[in-house]
Symmetry: C2
Subunit: 356 residues, 2 copies
């Protein structure tokens, strides 16, 4: 008998439910082929519930999440809710309260997928960004002085701890060893200007590096990194960086791997409960039209299964996604795929159960 | 009789002197054609001097700079000097002490220049980034707690003032009005997470916007902005952002306009002395080989003349640069231009004196 996993599903806002529906279809297809089962518990958190009840995550909600093996999230963000509320009170709150201290973002161009950059293919675009996910500028530190006056000062603090930085860097070294590609880990920072935060990062990085003589430690400034993503993405293997820089470079990474239609990420607590999500937004204008691309959500599901240890299942999904990209879709953009949301889900689910 | 301008020239490190030499050649050609004169005072600040004397900017150096009409900088950065020292003690110090509160970065793809992104040409890549240049994370605020212990905390502060933010935003609105293109000013920030700093920016932005009914105020998150730079650069006209985000997005901007071989910027104090620089580094490995591309330094010189009010001269240089890119250079990369550094300077200088 295969294992059974308790999955908390938060479809969320806008097109979130549509893409999660296809993702669920695909992970269930993988489960039945590879002999494990998924028990899905749905949570209606998001903009609609907030507008009706004023609640983002209800009392006890975080505790409930903790009783699951993983969390599968669609998208958070509603046109009628002021920006920041749902992001902070749902998405960031889960990341912080479940101590999901790694944001894992594979940047991988699949064959047949269109990238906006020239002369680069799947060979060149294949790296992983490890983003610290619980501190830095996201810690929420800061405040106002003389708010609303001509003498106002607004301070925003990046708080970095040895504890938080070290566990993130260790995770990245381990991942780099396991990936077994170039065996190169690049710290992306701004040591020449942000001399407190990045001094801690740099010191920790080179100290931990001594324990990994098989990995080449490398460093790049964040500004230069954005240039190389576009010009020489093949230079990278694994990248480790802080929360804010990670946010920026992973979006750029998403674009070069084909865009929001395909990019997925994991919010990982290696000792706790992790959450997987397509990294695009809720795309409200496409809601209910059956035109949004569900591949990013499907890839998030794939990452979730891999994280749970179902590596064969994850591989089967990846092969199916590659086949659909290569043989079917005209584009990854909403409304231009040549297929409906549901048809894309059906195709991936079908190929997931076959040897493709 | 035309005017005469006092220019402080800081050739700096590595290939800085070589590219500044060509830049000087070109601005002098423009001066003699358009009837003004340049009086150049050279300063040997940089890595070599620092290694010999331990001094970065000598006593009274900043005061001397203030007696000039503008500053022309090559590049700062020496392989034998620890990163951060020269950047902070020369480049950032000048920006701060001369209160050059605007970092102006035109992102303009010239015809014939290779861009790493697909399907975009000079029509689509033509916008300007206005980066705040004296505060934010660059203010140097922060510190360590329990440094070197497992309980270490490193804090880096972004300090934003109404005064600093407002003058920067006003500059951007004025520029946008003057550019007269799409009449759209995009604030690039992270309002949904950095709720102190970006709340101040956002409030100030929309308040000042009321005084510019002819300009469309627009907002984009910094992460999404990086995606659009690569996918839809034509969406932008003028961008205004803080110091750190500006640093990141202008490097990405440099790449899409053809790279470090062509990208120039101005550190502007509209009421004081401004400094113009190619934005690439000192490229030590190409030093003395006569292979580095001087166009970025030449474009910095062009921006300097425009800033001094010599608009015809600036335009003549721009036309000459465009002609050289289109009719001569095989590539903008060092060693691959098909011409030496000096030959490129000669060509641009020649065309600057002709009607091309
Ligand atoms: C929605 C937003 C709060 C979030 C972030 O900034 O982390 C998103 O951009 C991401 O990268 O997951
Ligand atoms: C050299 C460095 C200090 C500088 C900065 O970060 O501002 C550079 O990257 C720039 O953009 O001019």
């Amino acid at each position: 008998m295969g294992k059974s996993y308790q999955i908390a599903v938060i479809p969320g806002d806008g097109t979130g439910p549509e893409v999660i529906r296809e993702g669920v279809k695909v992970i269930e297809a993988a489960a039945s082929r590879f002999g494990f089962s998924l028990s899905l518990n749905y949570f209606d958190w998001g903009g609609d519930r907030y507008l009706k009840t004023g609640e983002t995550i209800p009392e006890g909600g975080i505790e409930e999440l903790k009783r699951h093996d993983a969390i599968y999230l669609g998208a958070i963000g509603h046109p009628d809710v002021a920006p920041g509320i749902l992001e902070k009170d749902i998405l960031l709150r889960i990341r912080f309260e479940l101590d999901q201290y790694i944001n894992l973002r594979p940047v991988k161009l699949y064959p047949g997928v269109w990238t906006p950059i020239k002369d680069k293919g799947p060979e060149e675009i294949d790296f992983v960004v490890v983003r610290e996910n619980t501190e830095g500028l996201y810690a929420g530190g800061g405040g106002f002085l003389r708010k609303g006056t001509p003498q106002e000062v607004a301070v925003q603090e990046s708080i970095n701890t040895r504890f938080g930085v070290e566990r993130c860097i260790r995770y990245a070294f381990e991942l780099c060893r396991k990936r077994n590609k170039k065996k190169q880990l690049t710290l992306v920072g701004k040591t020449n200007v942000l001399t407190f935060a990045w001094n801690l990062w740099e010191r920790t990085f080179y100290e931990v590096a001594k324990e990994y003589p098989d990995i080449k430690p490398d460093y790049a400034h964040v500004d230069a990194t954005c240039m190389w993503f576009v010009k020489n993405p093949e230079w990278f293997d694994v990248i480790v960086t802080d929360n804010m820089f990670g946010d920026i470079i992973t979006d750029l990474g998403a674009m070069i791997q084909g865009g929001m239609g395909i990019a997925a990420g994991g919010n990982i607590n290696p000792e706790g409960v992790s959450m997987f999500e397509p990294i695009g937004g809720s795309a409200p204008k496409y809601t209910g039209q059956n035109v949004i691309n569900p591949l990013a959500a499907i890839c998030a599901g794939m990452m979730m299964l891999e994280h749970l240890g179902e590596e064969e299942a994850a591989l089967a999904i990846e092969k199916a996604v590659i086949k659909v990209c290569r043989d079917h879709l005209k584009s990854l953009s909403a409304g231009k795929m040549g297929y409906t949301t549901q048809e894309v889900g059906d195709l991936v689910a079908k190929y997931t159960t076959e040897d493709v």
